[in-house]
Amino acid sequence: MDLLAVVVASLVLVPLAVFWGGSPVSLVLGLIFALFSPGYALVAAVFPKRHDLDIVRRLALSFGLSIVVVPLAGVFLNYTRWGIGLYPVLFSLLAFIIVAAAVAWYRRRRLPPEERFEPRFRLRLSQFWGGHHLLDRALLVLLVVVIIGAMGVLVYVARPPEVGQTFTEFYMLGPEGRAADYPDVLGLGEEATVTLGIVNHEQAVTDYHIRILIGEDEVGGVATITLAGEEEWEQKVSFAPVGVGEEQKVEFRLYKGNENTPYHVLDLWVDVVGN
């Protein structure tokens, strides 16, 4: 019955993987298919007798040998004309499981019934637990932890992807529309012009506004700009300095929505001379 269950589960996976690959059921069956079934069938073929191995060691070996068999199948396929792909891997492992299960069945049939390994699923935990050595119990606990960990990883990997990175581009160009020739030396009250640009990558309609400050003085700005996702905005804006001095920092503050803290700030340094 155990061999039949392994073969049937593997056969069920094939159409699932082909037509509904990525579905939760195919992921669960695929995990069993790759990490358990080949090893279990191989262990059953090599150790057909009940007393060859106990159930704990059989299960542990099943996982371990599966991890060996699957990459070896990949290495083998790499040197064939089919290469490593979904179908070659799927059918090569399926063939291996069926052949190993057939060998296991044949070897068990040649044994007296009382000597054949036949798993019985009677849940007597206290008897099961008490009847094993400390090392066996530790191995069993470790095995359970590893299986739970693998399931957790599977759930994490299979969950829907998160929303991609969201951000807003905010940039400043010179009067000619290139990243060059920015205002550098201005006369007091002389108007300077730059081009400001915004690109919305927030994946939602977003309101922005811009304030232009020199020190504490607000010398310009742009009122509400509403942009849809991936929409771009570019506009020439002007400002005029209100005081003379070298190395005055002109701040272009971009605000998002109703937030009071600037979302982005660009700095332009100018020297302002008297007229």
Binding site: Q165, Y171, L173, A179, A180, D184, V265, L268, W269
Partner: protein
């Protein structure tokens, strides 16, 4: 045995070309620089992202290394940015006019034209 095999192979891996991954907004920054900068611009970047700059922007970069850790020049550039890039003479010596910094800079000789992107002021 596995550790021994890995140890033997590690040195070989260090010589191989490999990809450098940058995030979406960094890549978009590089694209923008390629579109807006004059063709003869030379950029100084944190070496960690310098390798990706030229293929993404088509612009010249002062230093680009796929694996910058432990390289003296890369460490020098990283230190320059960590100190706020206040040494304008260092920028002139390297003959660069664009800086792409992972840290906010406060150098009056630089114009911040985009988040993290600084251009040397005219006359410098």
């Amino acid at each position: 045995m596995v550790v021994f095999a890995l140890f033997l192979r590690m040195e070989g891996y260090a010589e191989e070309d490999y990809y450098q991954i940058v995030d979406v907004d960094t890549y978009r920054d590089f694209e923008w620089l390629g579109e807006e900068l004059p063709r003869d611009s030379i950029a100084l970047l944190n070496p960690y992202v310098g390798w990706a700059y030229f293929p993404a922007s088509g612009q010249y970069v002062y230093s680009a290394r796929a694996y910058p850790w432990g390289v003296e020049q890369a460490m020098e550039i990283g230190e320059f940015f960590r100190e706020g890039a206040t040494d304008t003479e260092y920028i002139r010596e390297k003959n660069v006019n664009i800086l792409y910094s992972p840290f906010p800079l406060n150098n009056p000789d630089l114009v911040e034209v985009r988040d993290g992107v600084y251009i040397l002021r005219e006359g410098n």
